[in-house]
Each structure stands twice: as structure tokens, then as C-alpha cells.
């Protein structure tokens, strides 16, 4: 998009939409949509408030642990599936099913197995995030140039060296892409989990604000959540860009 | 420069059908691809554009096709100024540009389909040109079922089918393996002797340029300018093998290599 010869970056159009939001909010057409500036004010209030710190902390720790498990378990599993055909045949179908299945339906099971607590949220995050990490890691390992593996063998690399110095690094672009997508899914998992359990972390706040019709606060939580999701995924994207130069060169 | 052009046109012995005057092209990033290119292309002949990689050969061809806009200068085809693609010119693409979801027949007839010609007539014409390029029996195949050489035959048939006077070929054989290329070159020469087209042919292979064309235009390094026009008429020699063995062919190839080597040396000194 160019205006008077100036290139306007695409993300700037979001500002346009925020202005539209503000106008709708000021006009008061819909009770549900308070002016954006009010939401912004509420966000800052929220950022300073005790209850938000507490629930955000709970949410964040559940998210971090769930993601940690998903990454720690997902990458080795993906590598295994990429290298061993038998494992791939055994698990490939399931991973593919779970990548697109409505995992939300499993949350009630998790709830009765793990109780209405933090564990349930952690398991939900893990469950949402892990499959795409496995799948992308597997794809990355499969696309490693076979002559690169032969090269490592020819220079007498040990098995351990082959994996840590060649395979994982060569598959890094895909692995990072998997982690980024897993992160996005993990945020969705934490939100869905907390909404369904409804007495933990941000889920509790959502419940509280929407029951009491505190629309600006409700939107504030939502916006902060969105901002977190996007910040986290762009962080990984930055990492991805650093390895991009050899992702494309493989052909 | 204009002396050379006149000379070359004379040696080719016919009137120019495509005339390029003062073409310059600068890309958005600031790369000057072409600068002040003047060229005449005689009717009914094959002219090769040859030069070091990145000299703007393909850019020039796409400007003649009307696919790119020059920053200065103009192209005239049969006396009319080029403002965009036109029916008197047809393009053969380096990457074939075949529709992967269409059969050979539909691909060959695609230019006609765009002109709104009836299906029966399209089919008829397509069949004719499919035979011309030697693909009879493959009418209902899809591009992914064909080898690279066969795909380019489809691309060539498609360009022939719209009955344009000028064929613009952008490194058509660069994605084809060596043996297939030789056969294809021989077939192309034969086809052109029947169809009487003017061909502008971009290549980076000296042998290919000398073998196929009546004149070779040597472009200089970026920014591309016309550096030399070499008449290479090897006509009169009957068989393709005779051409490849003739002294004239071998000498011309050697001469052009000598000139191109100069550019490479200058590059290294820089």
C-alpha cells in the first residue's frame, strides 16, 4: 500500500481498525463495544492490579510448563519418527489425527482425571501444542539432505554427534516453525482450558468480568492475551528468520 | 553502432520486422539492466541474444514481448509501437509455464481459448501443432506426465498455434538435458524452415546461438548494451551434423568465446 509515494507497512492498517473501534465505541451503538481508549485505560489499570498479577502468573506458569513438556517430548518423538520407519508407521496416523482433531472435547476427560486444578491446564496446553511440534520436527528430519548424513558418516561422526551436530541443526527451520505453531496452539489451549475449568487464572477473570458486565475490563484481558500470543509467536519468528537462509537453500 | 545494425540487417538480407530503439530499463531496486539498446531484427530469421549472465537478455526479450515496460526508448513490431502483449508475438517460457491442471491439447490451445475461438477449431489447430512438434499420442496427457523436453514442445506448440509472426524464446532449452536439447534444436530448425517465423532467441550457450541463428547479438555486462552483432549464416549446409563440423561454425564459436572471455577477465580484475 502506497500513499503519496510512501510505503505504509501492512500492520498499520490495524491502527485504522482501532480508530473504527473507537468511533463505534464512542457512538455507543453497542453496549458490548466500549471505546478502545477505555479498554486501553482498563488494560493499564489491570497491569498494575494485584488480582491480575496473580491470575496472569498462574496462567503463565501453566502455559510455560505445558509448553516445556510439549517441546521436550515433542522434538525427540518427531526425530524418532523421522528416522525410524517403524515408529513412524505406528504413530504417524495418531499424530495426524490429533493435529486436527477437536481436542477441546478431551478437556472434560482431563478434568476428571487430573482434577480442577493447575495440572489439568498444563496437560491441556501440552496436548494442544505437542502434535504440531512432532509433525514439523518429523518433516524437518525427513527433509535433511541425505548426502549431509553420508558426509557426517564419512567423517566418522558418532551417532550422538550425527544427531546433535547435523540432524537437529539441519532440521532447525522446521522445528522452530513447529514450536511457533505449537506456541499459538498452546495459548489457545490455556485459554480453552481455563474457560472450561473457569476457576483458575485468567479464566476466572473472564468469568468474573463477563458475569458483571465489565466490558472494558473483559476486552482489556482479551487484548492483553492477544498481545501475549502475538508477541510470543513473533519472538520465535525472529529466531526462525536467523536460520531462514538455509531453509530455502535445501530445495 | 548504427553502422553495425545496418550491416547486420543487410547481411541477413531482409527488412527488420522488430525494431528496438534506445531501450533502457532500470529495476525498482536501482539495478540498471539495459542502457540505450538499439537493435533490428530481420524478418524470417532467427536472432540470438547472447551475453554473460545477468546482462539483461531476458529483460530485453520481455520488453519486446510487452510484459515489461522500458524506462526509455521504444519497440516497434511491423511498424507499430509496442504498448503491451500483442497477437503478432508469442512467447516461449524458460520454465514452460504450462497449466498443470490442463491436458496437452488444452495447453496447446490455451492462446486460442483466450481469443474466444470455438472449441472445435481449437481442437483442430491444437492437433495440427501437436503433430508438428512430434507429440502425437500425448494429446490427453498432463504436463507432469511428460519429460522436460516434451513439456517445452508443448510450450512451443502453444506459441505456434496462435499464428504469431514473431516467436520470442527465453532460454527455452536451459531446463532440458543435453541430448534432448540437441534433438530439439534440430527439430526447431526444421520447423522454422516450414513455418517461416521471425525468432528472437535468448540463450547463454554459445554453441546453441551459433548453431541456430542467422545473427548473434552479443550484449555486454550489466548494464546491458549491444556490444557486437555477428552474422553467422551457416545456411547452405544440408545436415545438422555438417553444420557442427564446419570450420565456419567452429571459428565463430571460438571468436565469440574470445569476446566473452574478455568480460569475464574484466570482472575478475574488478
Amino acid at each position: 500500500m502506497k500513499v503519496f509515494g510512501w510505503r505504509v507497512p501492512m500492520m498499520f492498517s490495524l491502527v485504522v481498525w482501532l480508530v473504527v473501534w473507537e468511533i463505534i465505541g464512542q457512538a455507543g451503538w453497542m453496549f458490548l463495544i466500549p471505546p478502545f481508549t477505555d479498554v486501553l485505560r482498563a488494560s493499564f489499570e489491570l497491569l498494575g492490579s494485584e488480582s491480575f498479577h496473580k491470575s496472569a502468573g498462574v496462567t503463565l506458569s501453566a502455559f510455560a510448563s505445558g509448553m516445556g513438556i510439549a517441546i521436550a517430548a515433542g522434538i525427540p518423538l518427531g526425530v524418532l519418527m523421522g528416522r525410524v520407519d517403524a515408529v513412524d508407521r505406528l504413530l504417524g496416523m495418531w499424530v495426524n489425527v490429533f493435529v486436527s482433531a477437536p481436542l477441546t472435547a478431551l478437556v472434560p476427560i482431563i478434568m476428571i482425571l487430573f482434577g480442577f486444578g493447575q495440572t489439568t491446564i498444563i496437560v491441556t496446553v501440552m496436548l494442544f501444542a505437542i502434535w504440531i511440534i512432532v509433525l514439523d520436527t518429523r518433516a524437518g528430519i525427513r527433509s535433511v539432505n541425505p548426502s549431509l548424513i553420508d558426509m557426517a558418516r564419512a567423517f566418522c561422526a558418532s551417532r550422538f554427534q550425527l544427531y546433535t551436530r547435523v540432524l537437529i541443526l539441519a532440521a532447525l527451520p522446521e522445528i522452530l516453525a513447529g514450536i511457533r505453531l505449537g506456541l499459538i496452539r498452546g495459548v489457545k489451549g490455556v485459554v480453552i482450558g481455563q474457560l472450561l475449568v473457569a476457576i483458575i487464572g485468567l479464566g476466572e477473570l473472564f468469568e468474573l468480568y463477563s458475569r458483571n458486565f465489565l466490558m472494558d475490563k473483559f476486552w482489556a484481558v482479551t487484548i492483553l492475551l492477544f498481545a501475549f500470543a502475538i508477541a510470543a509467536s513473533s519472538l520465535i519468528e525472529m529466531l526462525e528468520r536467523r536460520v531462514e537462509y538455509y531453509a530455502g537453500a535445501r530445495g | 553502432m548504427s553502422d553495425q545494425v545496418a550491416q547486420a540487417a543487410q547481411s541477413a538480407g531482409s527488412d527488420p520486422i522488430v525494431r528496438v530503439t534506445g531501450i533502457s530499463k532500470r529495476y525498482e531496486g536501482g539495478v540498471q539492466a539495459l542502457e540505450g539498446v538499439d537493435l533490428d531484427f530481420p524478418e524470417g530469421r532467427l536472432t540470438s541474444l547472447l551475453g554473460p549472465s545477468g546482462c539483461g537478455k531476458t529483460t530485453l526479450l520481455k520488453i519486446i514481448a510487452g510484459l515489461l515496460e522500458p524506462n526509455a526508448g521504444e519497440v516497434q513490431v511491423a511498424g507499430r509501437r509496442v504498448t503491451g502483449p500483442g497477437p503478432e508475438r508469442a512467447f516461449v517460457f524458460q520454465d514452460f509455464a504450462l497449466l498443470p491442471w490442463a491436458t496437452v491439447t488444452r495447453n496447446v490451445a490455451f492462446g486460442l481459448e483466450l481469443q474466444g475461438i470455438s472449441k472445435a477449431e481449437r481442437r483442430e489447430k491444437a492437433r495440427h501443432y501437436i503433430r508438428e512438434v512430434g507429440l502425437t499420442g500425448f494429446e490427453d496427457r498432463y504436463p507432469h506426465e511428460l519429460s522436460g523436453g516434451m513439456r517445452q514442445r508443448v510450450g512451443l506448440a502453444r506459441a505456434m498455434a496462435v499464428d504469431a509472426d514473431v516467436l520470442l524464446m527465453d532460454e527455452p532449452f536451459s531446463a532440458v538435458d543435453e541430448q534432448t536439447r540437441r534433438k530439439f534444436q534440430e527439430d526447431l530448425l526444421h520447423l522454422l524452415s516450414v513455418e517461416k517465423k521471425t525468432v528472437i532467441f535468448v540463450t547463454h550457450s554459445i554453441e546453441e546461438a551459433v548453431y541456430l541463428s542467422s545473427q548473434v547479438v552479443l550484449l555486454s555486462r550489466r548494464p546491458g548494451r549491444v556490444s557486437k552483432i555477428i552474422p553467422t549464416d551457416l545456411g547452405g549446409l544440408e545436415s545438422p551434423d555438417a553444420i557442427r563440423r564446419s570450420k565456419r561454425y567452429l571459428d565463430t564459436v571460438e571468436d565469440i568465446w574470445g569476446m566473452l572471455k574478455q568480460y569475464l577477465l574484466e570482472d575478475e580484475i574488478k
Binding site: S13, M93, P102, T104, L195 | P85, F93, L114
Partner: protein, 244 residues
Amino acid sequence: MSIALVCGAWEIAGRVPISLAFPSFFDTAAAFWRMTLDGSLPIAFLITLHPLVIGIGISIVFGVGLGVTMGLSRGFEWLAAPVFIVMQAAPMAALIPLITFVYGIGLTAKVLAVCLLAVPVVVLNSYAAVRNANPSLVQMCRSFQGTRLQQIMKVIIPDASPVIFAGLRLGVAAGFIGIVLAELLITPTGIGDLITYHRAVANYAEMYASIVSIVVFSAVIVSLLEKVEVVLLRPEKRIKGTPE
């Protein structure tokens, strides 16, 4: 083979038992039959599918239309693409309580929940498909004097259709997530009702049977769409053993 192995593992785990709330595979299968025969499961499926089908239909028409327009027009791309990029990355589920507010707990709310999750992925896929249509083919069409309309109808859309269709597949998968979420969060109807009810009365086998059946059902639909995609839109994948 791998299905049998997993079911076997489930059976053993259920027999041990890991937890009181973890029925064995055969108990679950038996519950599945009981519920199928007494009609509660088929009826629940019909109820669940109703808003799902409507929502997916709307998402496809709206999403593909919008995505293709975004791919074709630079101005529109500038205006709309970031919104959908944000929607795709953000946890839209957070907005479901809001939908309940506006549209209550009826059909509309559920349809909207499906759309909310399905539209972004459909839009972004259609948009990317059109945007990345093979430029060489577009140039070829131009060189044969194709009009802009011909360019769009005969080259860009056919070239983009496999990716657009893949987007629809992902949209359907997202729609399933949306409907399950809506049924668990907004009001328990259909499958959501079965899950909630059987959990409340501790009929764990029945609850598992409902959950597994909806997960399997969505997986079957999605993989069916994948097959359709290969047969209809990808001639190069259909025939085995061709080079490339």
C-alpha cells in the same frame, strides 16, 4: 495394526485401573453400542452437526470470497490481511463468552462460534493461495493477451484451488473445535450435552464413548476431505510413480 495396538494399550490401562474415571476400551465400545442403539448418540450428532454445517457453509462462502479478494487487490490486502493474521494467531476462544452475551444461547451463538474459529484459517489460505499463484503462468496468460478476467478465472483461481481447498479442510477442522467448545461453554446440547450429562452422573464409559466418537468423526471427515482434494485437484499426486 497401530489402531489395534493403541486400543490394546487402552484396554490394559483401563483394566489396571489407572483411575476410577478411566474405563477400559471394551467398556467404552459397549457404551458406544448402547448409545447408538437407543438412539441418543445419533440424535446428539444430528443436533451438533446442525450449527456446524451452517457455520462451515457461511465460513466457506465468506472466507473464500474475502480471501480471494484480498489476494487480488493490494488495497484490500493492506486493510484486511493484518486483522486475520491477528485472529489466526490469537486465542479466539476467549471471545466465546462475549458471543453468548450478544446472541444468547441459541443456534446463532453456536453458528457464530464455528465461524469465529473457521473463518480466519479459510481466509488466510485463500488469500495466500491467490497471492502466490504462479507468476510465470500469469505472465504466460498476459503474453497471450488474456484479459484480467480471463487471467483470474482461467489461471489464478485454478492454480490457487488446491491451497484454497486445503484451507477449507483446515476450516472444517477448526469448525469442529468451535462447535465442541460452544456446546461445552455456551449450553450443553448434542454431543456436548452427552459429555456433560454422563460426567455429572459418573457414567464414564458413556462419556468417553461420546468424546471418542466426535473426535473420530471429525478425523474421518477431515481425512475424507483430504482424499477428495487429491482426487479432484491434484492430478500430479494422483498417479503414482511419475517423476517429480
